[in-house]
C-alpha cells in the first residue's frame, strides 16, 4: 500500500507553463502536463523538441537551465517544489534560460611567490605578488614584465587606463610597504616606470580601486583610513610642494586628496559605485558607502562578521560580500527595512577571500576561497554554484572578471589561472 502510494506520488502529474525572456527561444504559450519527477535533462529535451518543431530545421540544440519561482532547478521538479512548499495543484511557471556554458581553463601563469592581486584589462593581466613585484602578463600566458619597486608584498593592483593606439598603459599598485605606486607602461617597448608614489598610509595597504572615469584612486588599509588619490598623469597642483622633495626619489610623491575616517578596523576592500561614491568594507563588521563630494558617510551596512571582500554590481546595484566565514552574502544597499541580507550562498568550505561580479552578466559572479576553489555563481541559485573552477592547489587570494571573456584568479600556489567564458566566446 505504502509503496504504491509513494509510486503514485512520484508519478504525480504536474501542469507547467514554460516561459522565457529570450525571444529567440520562445515556445507556444500553453500549459504542459508532465510527470512530477522530471529533471532538467527531460525538460531540456521537451523545450528542444518544442523549439525544433516551431523553428523547423533552423534550430540547433541549446542547453537550458530552468528556474522555478526564481530559483534554479537542480534536483527533480517534485523535490524542488516540496522543499519550497509550492502547491502541486497550480500551474507552475517554469522559466528557462540558456545555460551559461562551463568555463574553460586556458592557462596557468606561474609566479615566484603567492599572488595577492590580479586584474585584467583587455588582453593584459596585472598581478601583484608576495615577492614585492608587479607582473604583466597577456592572456596567451606570456610574461611581459616584472616591476620591482615595492618593499613589501604587493597586495593590490588596478588598471587606470590603456591606450591601445599609443600602447601606453597606466596602472597602480598598492603594497604592504604602505605605498601606492602609479606606473606608466609602454606596451610596445615593454618598458615601465613608476611615475608617482603615493605616500600617506600608516600601515599596510590592502586594497586600491580606480574610479570609473580613471581620475581617482581609492585605497584602504590597516590604518583604518580610506584615502583618495589623484590618478591623473599630470603632475598637478597636489604635488607642487612635494615635487621638489620627490626629485630625490626616482618618482614624484603624491599625498591623498582626501582621507575618510570612520572605520574602526582594517579596510579590506574599496570599490567605486560611481565617480563620487565609494563602497568600502572593513574588518569592523561594516560596509560603508562614502560620498566623496561631501566627504561624508552616506550609508552603512552592518554585518556580524568581518568583511574580507565586497563587490558592487553596476548592472543590478547589489553588493556581494565575502566575510570571515564560508558564506557569501548578497546585500541590497537600497533596501532600508527588513533584512538587508537578501540571500546567503553556501558552497565554500573555507573563508572566501575574494569575490567579483560579472561586468556583463546580471546574475553572475565569481568567488575565490581558501578552499582552493573558484566558483561561478548565479545569484538566483544560492544553494549551489553554477560551476567550480578547479585548478588552484592552494588558497585563492584574488579573482578578477574585469574582462568578460576571462575569469582570472591568483592564489597561494604561486599561480594565476585563467578561465575562458564560453558564452562570450560564441558571440
Amino acid at each position: 500500500m505504502a509503496s504504491s502510494r509513494a509510486r503514485n506520488n512520484e508519478e504525480q502529474q504536474l501542469q507547467i507553463h514554460l516561459i522565457t525572456k529570450q525571444s529567440q527561444f520562445a515556445v507556444p504559450d500553453t500549459p504542459y502536463t508532465i510527470q512530477s519527477n522530471v529533471t532538467t535533462t527531460e525538460l531540456n529535451n521537451l523545450v528542444n523538441t518544442l523549439l525544433e518543431a516551431s523553428q523547423n530545421e533552423m534550430y540547433s540544440e541549446t542547453e537550458f537551465d530552468f528556474l522555478v519561482k526564481g530559483e534554479f532547478l537542480k534536483t527533480n521538479l517534485a523535490k524542488h517544489l516540496k522543499d519550497r512548499e509550492i502547491s502541486f495543484e497550480d500551474v507552475i511557471d517554469v522559466e528557462y534560460v540558456e545555460r551559461f556554458p562551463a568555463p574553460e581553463p586556458i592557462d596557468c601563469l606561474l609566479h615566484d611567490d603567492w599572488v595577492a592581486a590580479v586584474q585584467s584589462y583587455g588582453e593584459w593581466i596585472l598581478t601583484g605578488c608576495y615577492d614585492n613585484s608587479v607582473n604583466i602578463w597577456n592572456m596567451k600566458g606570456e610574461h611581459k614584465l616584472t616591476l620591482s619597486g615595492h618593499d613589501g608584498p604587493c597586495s593590490s593592483v588596478a588598471w587606470i587606463s590603456l591606450n591601445e593606439d599609443s600602447g601606453i598603459g597606466l596602472f597602480a599598485s598598492g603594497s604592504k610597504d604602505q605605498i601606492i605606486k602609479i606606473w606608466e607602461w609602454n606596451c610596445h617597448q615593454n618598458k615601465a616606470q613608476c611615475i608617482f608614489t603615493c605616500k600617506g598610509h600608516e600601515r599596510a595597504i590592502e586594497c586600491i580601486s580606480v574610479s570609473p572615469n580613471g581620475k581617482h584612486i581609492a585605497s584602504g588599509g590597516w590604518d583604518n583610513f580610506l584615502k583618495v588619490w589623484s590618478a591623473s598623469t599630470l603632475d598637478e597642483t597636489t604635488g607642487s610642494g612635494s615635487s621638489k622633495k620627490v626629485k630625490t626619489d626616482e618618482a614624484n610623491v603624491r599625498t591623498p586628496i582626501s582621507t575618510l575616517e570612520g572605520h574602526k578596523e582594517a579596510i579590506s576592500s574599496v570599490h567605486w559605485i560611481d565617480n563620487g561614491t565609494i563602497l568600502s568594507s572593513s574588518w569592523d563588521h561594516t560596509m560603508k558607502i562614502w560620498d566623496l563630494n561631501m566627504r561624508a558617510l552616506k550609508n552603512e551596512i552592518a554585518g556580524n562578521k568581518s568583511f574580507f571582500d565586497v563587490s558592487y554590481s553596476h548592472l543590478n546595484g547589489l553588493i556581494i560580500a565575502a566575510s570571515a566565514d564560508k558564506n557569501l552574502r548578497l546585500f541590497d544597499p537600497k533596501s532600508n527595512q527588513g533584512t538587508i541580507v537578501k540571500s546567503t550562498f553556501l558552497g565554500h568550505n573555507q573563508w572566501v577571500s575574494s569575490v567579483r561580479w560579472s561586468k556583463t552578466e546580471e546574475f553572475l559572479f565569481i568567488s575565490g576561497s581558501y578552499d582552493n576553489a573558484v566558483k561561478l555563481w548565479d545569484y538566483r541559485s544560492p544553494k549551489a554554484p553554477l560551476f567550480d573552477l578547479v585548478g588552484h592547489e592552494d588558497k585563492v587570494m584574488a579573482v578578477d572578471w574585469s574582462n568578460p571573456k576571462y575569469m582570472v584568479s591568483g592564489g597561494a600556489d604561486n599561480s594565476v589561472r585563467i578561465f575562458k567564458s564560453r558564452k562570450v566566446l560564441e558571440e
Binding site: 603567492w114 595577492a116 608576495y130 618593499d151 613589501g152 608584498p153 610597504d177 604602505q178 600608516e202 600601515r203 599596510a204 590597516w222 590604518d223 578596523e265 582594517a266 574588518w283 569592523d284 556580524n304 562578521k305 568581518s306 574580507f308 570571515a324 566565514d325 573555507q350 573563508w351 577571500s353 581558501y370 588558497k395 587570494m397 597561494a412
Partner: protein, 829 residues
C-alpha cells in the same frame, strides 16, 4: 438635776480638750493617757467648767449676747462631731491593738489590761450615749423647722432638703448651718427661758417619730434621764387671748412640737424667715449687689498681658501623645482593641445564641488532639469471592490446590490465600472464625508498630539542579570552526603572541625559531632564528613601539619585527633602542649576577631585528609585558629567589622584588590596570603590590600544579589552568578560593586565555582540545560572572602525548589561535 447637766457639759468639755491637744502625739497615746487619767481630769475640768458654766449663765441673761452663746454652742457641737469621728477610728485601732498584744503579754499584764478594757467599755458607753444625743439634737432641729415650714414656700423646702441631704454644696450648707444655729439658739433661749417653770434641760429623746403617736399620752417623750416629758398644760382660748393681749412677744412665740414648750423667736430668726419668704439668700450678711470686679475683660488688649513667647511645647505635637495614639492604632490594627462599632458587633453576635453540632465528627474528620497530620490506617482489601461463605465453585480448592496449600504450612506467606475457602449452605451454618481475634491482634500490632508519620520528601528533578544557562546560540559570536592552519614550524609550537592591532602574530617553537604570520592570509612573513628553544614570546602591547620579547633559552631577545607600520614606528623603535640611557644607579650585585643587558648584537641577528639581548643566569620559561609596554617580567623556574625579574625597557634595568623563594614559579602576570604582579608557584598564586612592595593576597586554587594564568581585561577575574585537568575562575573581589572550577578537559590544561573584547575565554589541553567558554563579567558587583562552556574544538593532530601548548585570542575579532605539538597553529572562527 443641775449637777447632771453640769457633768454632761464637763464630759463634753473634756472631749474638746482631748481634741484640742497637739497632734504631734500619736492617737493611741492620746487615747491611753486620756483614759488613764480620766478621773483626775474629770475633777480638774469640773472646776474649770463650773466657772465657764457660770459665765455662760450670766451671759444668757442678757438677750444681746444671744449670738455669742449660740456660737459657743455651735463650736461645741461641731467639735463633738469631730471627736466622734476620730473616736470611731481610734476604737478600731484599739481593738486591733488589743488582739495583737494579747498574745505576748503575761497574766499580770492581762489583769491590768482588763482594767483598761473596762474603762474603755465605759468610754464606749459614753460615746454611744453621745451618739444618741446627737441624733436627738438633729431631730429637735428638724422639728423646729417643721414648725417653720410654710407650705406655699416650695423653694424654701427644696433648700432645706438640700441642706439636710448634703453638706457639700456651699450655699445650702451655709443655710442649713444657719438654720441649725437658729435652732440651737432657740434651745438656749428655751433652756434659759424664765417663763417656763421647768428648768430642766428637756430634750426629747424619742427620735424621729411622728409625734402624734404621743397624742393619747400625757407625756410627749423622754428626756436624757429617761423620764417622761410631760405635755405642758393645755392652754384654753382665753389664756391664749390674754397672752396675746399681754405679751408683746406673742406674735413671735411658736410651739416646739417635740417638747410642747413655747419658744420665742429672736429678731434674727425673724429676719431669716423674712429673707426666706422673699426668696433671698437667707444670710443677712450676703450682699447680692456688691460691686463687680472684672477679672477678665471682654476688651481685647493691645499688648499681651504676658510678654513671654509661646513655648515650643505649645506648637510642637506631643511625642507622648503620638506614642499613645500609635499604640492605640497598633492595637486597633492587631485587633486587640475594638472600636465601638466592632465591639457592638461582637456584642450583638454574642447575643445570638450559638448552635453547635453535638457530634462534631459527623461532617469533618475528627481532629486528633495530639497527632498532627494524622495518617489514616491503610485500608484492608475488600473480601473477595473466595472469602464468601458461599463462594462460586471455581473458588473452592480442588485436591491439588488443597495439597499445595497444606504443603506451604511452613511458609504461610507464600500461600495465595491465607485460608481455605469454605462453602456453606446458609449464613446460619457459618461457624465462628477461629482466627478472628488473632488476625485482629496482628492487624492492631501492625498498625501500632508501623510508624505512620507523614514523610516529608522533596522530589527534586535532576534537571532542576543544573543551573539555567543561556543557549550557546544566544552567546554568539564565538569560534566554532577551524579556519586556517599556519604551517611552517618544524617542532612543537610552544608559544604565541598577537600584535595589538591584530594583523600579525608571532609564534615561538622548539625549532629555535620564531615566525611572524599574517593572520588573514596565513602567510609567514618572517622567520627569525634565535639559537635557542623559544619558550615564550610576547608582543609589546604598546602600539607605539614595535617590539617582541622572545625568551630563548637563557637569553631574552627584544626583536623589532619590522611589520605593521614599517615606515614610522619600526624606525622609531630602532632609534629609541639604539641609544642606551645612562643609568646612574649602581646595580645590585644580586641582580648583576642574574641579568646582563647588552645592546651589542652581532650583525646577522641585528639584521633579523634583534635589538637588545638580556642574558639571564637560568633558562627563561616565560616573559610577559605590562599593559603599558615599558615593564616586562621574566620567569626562571630554577632561579630560586631570583626566579622572577622585572625589567624596565626605558631605563634598561632589572630588579627582583622577592628576597625569598616560594617554590618553583610557574607563571607571572601583570595586572592590566593596577600595579600588581601575580606570581603563580606550583600550588598558590600570590598577588604583590609593586608600589608598596608587599603581598596583597594569596589565592588558594587547591590544585597540584598550576600551568598558566590569564587575567580578565578588567582585572577583577583570573583564570588559572592546572596540570591536573582543571581550569579555575577566580573572582578576585570574592574570595581566595576559586569561584568556579571547570573540569572539562581530559588531560593537563596547559593554557588559558581571555578575549580582550568579547566575553570569551578558552583553554587548551593535552587532550588536543580547545574549549571555548562564555565568561561574562558584569559591572554590577552583586552579579557573579556567568560562565557557559560553548564549544570544544579539536583539530590538532595527535603527534605525541602533548596536545595544545598555548591558546590565544585575536585582539579584535572573536577568533582563537591554538598552537600544538603537531607543529601547527590553528585559527578558529
Amino acid at each position: 438635776m443641775a449637777n447632771k447637766k453640769l457633768k454632761r457639759k464637763i464630759i463634753e468639755e473634756k472631749e474638746i480638750k482631748v481634741d484640742e491637744k497637739p497632734k504631734e502625739q500619736s492617737v493611741e497615746t492620746e487615747e491611753d493617757e486620756d483614759y488613764e487619767s480620766d478621773k483626775d481630769l474629770l475633777v480638774e475640768i469640773d472646776n474649770e467648767d463650773q466657772q465657764e458654766n457660770d459665765e455662760n449663765e450670766e451671759e444668757d441673761d442678757s438677750d444681746s449676747d444671744d449670738i455669742l452663746s449660740f456660737e459657743s454652742f455651735k463650736s461645741d457641737y461641731e467639735e463633738n462631731e469631730n471627736d466622734f469621728n476620730s473616736e470611731n477610728d481610734e476604737e478600731e485601732q484599739l481593738e486591733f491593738e488589743d488582739s495583737s498584744v494579747e498574745d505576748e503579754l503575761t497574766t499580770e499584764e492581762l489583769e491590768s489590761l482588763k482594767k483598761k478594757q473596762e474603762e474603755k467599755q465605759k468610754i464606749k458607753e459614753l460615746v454611744e450615749f453621745r451618739k444618741k444625743e446627737r441624733v436627738e439634737q438633729k431631730e429637735t432641729s428638724k422639728l423646729i423647722m417643721d414648725t417653720l415650714r410654710q407650705p406655699e414656700d416650695e423653694t424654701y423646702l427644696a433648700m432645706r432638703e438640700n441642706s439636710v441631704q448634703s453638706k457639700s454644696l456651699p450655699g445650702p450648707s451655709n443655710l442649713s448651718d444657719e438654720i441649725e444655729e437658729s435652732d440651737k439658739k432657740k434651745f438656749v433661749e428655751y433652756e434659759d427661758d424664765g417663763d417656763t417653770s421647768d428648768e430642766e434641760d428637756i430634750r426629747n429623746t424619742v427620735g424621729n417619730i411622728p409625734l402624734h403617736w404621743y397624742d393619747e399620752y400625757k407625756h410627749i417623750g423622754y428626756d436624757w434621764e429617761g423620764r417622761k416629758i410631760m405635755k405642758p398644760p393645755a392652754k384654753d382660748q382665753l389664756d391664749v387671748f390674754l397672752r396675746k393681749m399681754e405679751d408683746p412677744d406673742f406674735w413671735r412665740t411658736v410651739k416646739d412640737p417635740q417638747t410642747g414648750q413655747d419658744v420665742v423667736l429672736s429678731e434674727e430668726d425673724i429676719q431669716l424667715i423674712k429673707l426666706i419668704k422673699k426668696q433671698r439668700a437667707p444670710d443677712q450678711n450676703f450682699d447680692a449687689y456688691e460691686p463687680w470686679v472684672e477679672w477678665f475683660t471682654s476688651e481685647v488688649e493691645k499688648f499681651p498681658i504676658r510678654n513671654i513667647p509661646d513655648s515650643k511645647q505649645s506648637f510642637l505635637p506631643s511625642k507622648v501623645e503620638k506614642k499613645k495614639i500609635g499604640r492605640l492604632v497598633h492595637s486597633l490594627k492587631m485587633g486587640w482593641m475594638k472600636t465601638k462599632a466592632e465591639q457592638e458587633k461582637i456584642d450583638a453576635e454574642k447575643k445570638i445564641p450559638k448552635f453547635y453540632m453535638l457530634w462534631d465528627s459527623d461532617t469533618g474528620r475528627e481532629k486528633m488532639r495530639r497527632i498532627h497530620d494524622h495518617v489514616t490506617a491503610p485500608k484492608r482489601a475488600l473480601p473477595g469471592h473466595a472469602e464468601s461463605y458461599n463462594p462460586p465453585s471455581e473458588y473452592l480448592f480442588n485436591e491439588k490446590e488443597l495439597q499445595d496449600w497444606q504443603n506451604l504450612s511452613d511458609e504461610p506467606h507464600k500461600r495465595k490465600l491465607h485460608f481455605i475457602p469454605q462453602k456453606y449452605k446458609s449464613l446460619r451454618q457459618v461457624p465462628y472464625y477461629q482466627n478472628y481475634i488473632r488476625e485482629r491482634f496482628i492487624r492492631c500490632l501492625d498498625l501500632y508498630l508501623c510508624p505512620r508519620a507523614k514523610r516529608m520528601k522533596a522530589t527534586v528533578q535532576p534537571e532542576d539542579l543544573i543551573p539555567k544557562l543561556p543557549s550557546s546560540k544566544d552567546l554568539q559570536p564565538f569560534p566554532t570552526t577551524q579556519s586556517m592552519i599556519y604551517r611552517g614550524h618544524n617542532d612543537i609550537v610552544r608559544t604565541m603572541s598577537i600584535e595589538p592591532k591584530g594583523q600579525y602574530f608571532v609564534t615561538g617553537s622548539d625549532d629555535k625559531t620564531i615566525k611572524i604570520w599574517e593572520i588573514a592570509t596565513g602567510r609567514c612573513i618572517k622567520t627569525i632564528n634565535t639559537k635557542g628553544v623559544v619558550r615564550s614570546v610576547a608582543w609589546c602591547p604598546n602600539q607605539k613601539i614595535s617590539l617582541i620579547a622572545v625568551a630563548s633559552d637563557k637569553r631574552l631577545l627584544l626583536i623589532n619585527p619590522h611589520v605593521g607600520d614599517i615606515k614610522l614606528i619600526s624606525k622609531k623603535t630602532d632609534d629609541i633602542l639604539a641609544e642606551a640611557p645612562v643609568s646612574e644607579e649602581i646595580e645590585n650585585e644580586r641582580i648583576k649576577t642574574a641579568v646582563q643587558w647588552s645592546a651589542e648584537i652581532d650583525k646577522d641577528e641585528y639584521k633579523d631585528g634583534v635589538r637588545i639581548v638580556i642574558n639571564h643566569f637560568q633558562e627563561i620559561a616565560q616573559v610577559t609585558w605590562h599593559a603599558k609596554g615599558d615593564y616586562f617580567a621574566t620567569v626562571m623556574p630554577n632561579g630560586l629567589s631570583r626566579s622572577v625579574l622585572v625589567h624596565q625597557l626605558s631605563k634598561r634595568r632589572s630588579q627582583t622584588s622577592f628576597s625569598k623563594s616560594h617554590g618553583m614559579v610557574q607563571c607571572v602576570l601583570f595586572h592590566p590596570i593596577k600595579p600588581c604582579l601575580f606570581v603563580a608557584s606550583q600550588q598558590h598564586i600570590r598577588i604583590y603590590d609593586l608600589v608598596k612592595q608587599e603581598m596583597i593576597k594569596k589565592l588558594m586554587p587547591s590544585c597540584k600544579w598550576i600551568s598558566k594564568m590569564a587575567i580578565h581585561p578588567k582585572g577583577d577575574n583570573l583564570l588559572v589552568s592546572t596540570y591536573d585537568k582543571k581550569v579555575m575562575w577566580f573572582d578576585l573581589d570574592l574570595s581566595t578560593k576559586p569561584y568556579q572550577t571547570l573540569k572539562l578537559h581530559a588531560s593537563a590544561v596547559r593554557s588559558v586565555a581571555y578575549h580582550s573584547r568579547y566575553p570569551l575565554f578558552a583553554s587548551g589541553s593535552d587532550d588536543r582540545g580547545v574549549i571555548v567558554c562564555h565568561g561574562m563579567v558584569y559591572n554590577d558587583l552583586l552579579q557573579n560572572a556567568l560562565i557557559v562552556p560553548l564549544k570544544r574544538l579539536e583539530f590538532h593532530e595527535k603527534v605525541s602525548d602533548y596536545g595544545i601548548f598555548e591558546v590565544l585570542f585575536h585582539t579584535t575579532q572573536p577568533w582563537l589561535f591554538s598552537s600544538g605539538s603537531d607543529y601547527t597553529v590553528r585559527l578558529y572562527t
